[in-house]
């Protein structure tokens, strides 16, 4: 059963995450809608630009989250490498797992296969929670963000927030 977006946003706020930007994916549609409803979401045009906005928000005292499809993770690599990781700026990356297990439209298959290794390669700690672990994994992410001052990823598998695939 899908995890309710309002409870997820509540858990983000509990973890201290108070600013969100990004580029949409259908797998997180309910999350973006809930963030917008609460005035927390500032949409960007590209995922690396969203990381730039998040970096600025952190400089201004926020603890940010960037929402993206994993296609946007490819766009984001230079911002992660030469901004967040270099300057030690924390950011929760909520990234969807299109192409998981090779079951998706063809444009998602390569990134779907390499994403876990890509996150590991860049030294971004990540978890891909089932619904029953989501709240505790958000708390884990919040602790890691504060302790390391570097990005942490929560990977959204199909069905976590939406019932359709």
């Amino acid at each position: 059963m899908a995890f309710p977006a309002d409870r997820f946003v509540d858990s983000l706020l509990t973890a201290g995450i108070d600013f969100a930007t990004g580029v949409p994916c259908s797998l997180v549609g309910p999350v973006i809608a809930e963030l917008e409803r609460r005035g927390l979401y500032h949409g960007e045009t590209r995922e690396d630009a969203a990381l730039g906005v998040a970096a600025g928000a952190y400089l201004g005292g926020k603890l940010p989250m960037v929402v993206m499809q994993n296609s946007g993770l490819g766009v984001s690599l230079n911002a992660l490498a030469s901004l967040h990781l270099l300057y030690e700026m924390p950011c929760l990356v909520l990234v969807t797992w299109r192409g998981m297990a090779g079951k998706d439209a063809p444009e998602h298959l390569v990134m779907g296969e390499v994403m876990p290794r890509l996150l590991d390669l860049f030294g971004v700690p990540w978890r891909a929670p089932e619904p029953d672990a989501l709240a505790s994994d958000v708390a884990w992410a919040g602790e890691r963000l504060r302790a390391t001052r570097k990005p942490v990823a929560l990977v959204v598998k199909p069905g976590l927030f939406t019932t359709h695939s």
């Binding site: 590209r46 952190y58 201004g60 911002a79 270099l86 300057y87």
Partner: protein
């Protein structure tokens, strides 16, 4: 008017604004002209100075933010011009020093001599857009620009400077820069 000439006119007029300086020669020239605790020097992440400035402006709405950008950076991230225009932060001022070249990598031409970036900013919907081409025009307009309600965009047409870097390398580590800018902006450490 070179970048150094333009900065010599603008930087003494700044007070406690947060500054975001784009990567390469821009950051080095700004650091050489006037450093402040609230100046963020971008050494990588080309294109993202405007995005970082938008994030500071949103995260810190009581602080005025000045983005010191170049034509190569603006061309790389034109989408954020639209994002800024629609987000409409009143506290954001965006300066684009336009030499129609990638000065930091040897002066290769950009296309900003054929695509007017002030016109792009105007089309995107910045609340105010201006363009200056001479030191006299810049001197005449700078104080009014710095007092504008944002988002405001000023294109400063400049010539390529003499060969070589226009200022010293930034002496702070990136991690030190994060800490000092956050401290200057009142963010908890």
């Amino acid at each position: 008017m070179t970048l150094a000439d333009a900065l010599a006119i603008i930087m003494p007029r700044l007070t406690n604004e947060a500054c975001v300086c784009s990567n390469g020669f821009m950051s080095r020239a700004v650091y050489g002209a006037r450093d402040s605790e609230a100046s963020f020097y971008m050494i990588g992440s080309m294109g993202l100075a405007s995005s970082i400035g938008l994030g500071i402006a949103k995260g810190c709405p009581t602080r005025r933010v000045v983005v010191l950008d170049g034509d190569g950076n603006v061309l790389m991230n034109m989408g954020t011009l639209a994002t800024i225009a629609v987000a409409a932060p009143r506290n954001l001022l965006h300066v684009c020093f336009d030499n129609a070249a990638h000065a930091s990598t040897g002066g290769q031409r950009t296309i900003s001599d054929r695509v007017r970036l002030d016109a792009v900013a105007r089309a995107a919907g910045y609340a105010w857009v201006g363009r200056v081409e001479t030191p006299a025009e810049l001197t005449e307009q700078v104080a009014a620009f710095l007092a504008k309600e944002g988002p405001a965009f000023l294109l400063v047409r400049i010539a390529l400077g003499p060969p070589g870097a226009p200022g010293p390398r930034i002496p702070f580590t990136p991690v030190q820069m994060t800490a000092r800018v956050r401290r200057a902006l009142g963010a908890a450490s």
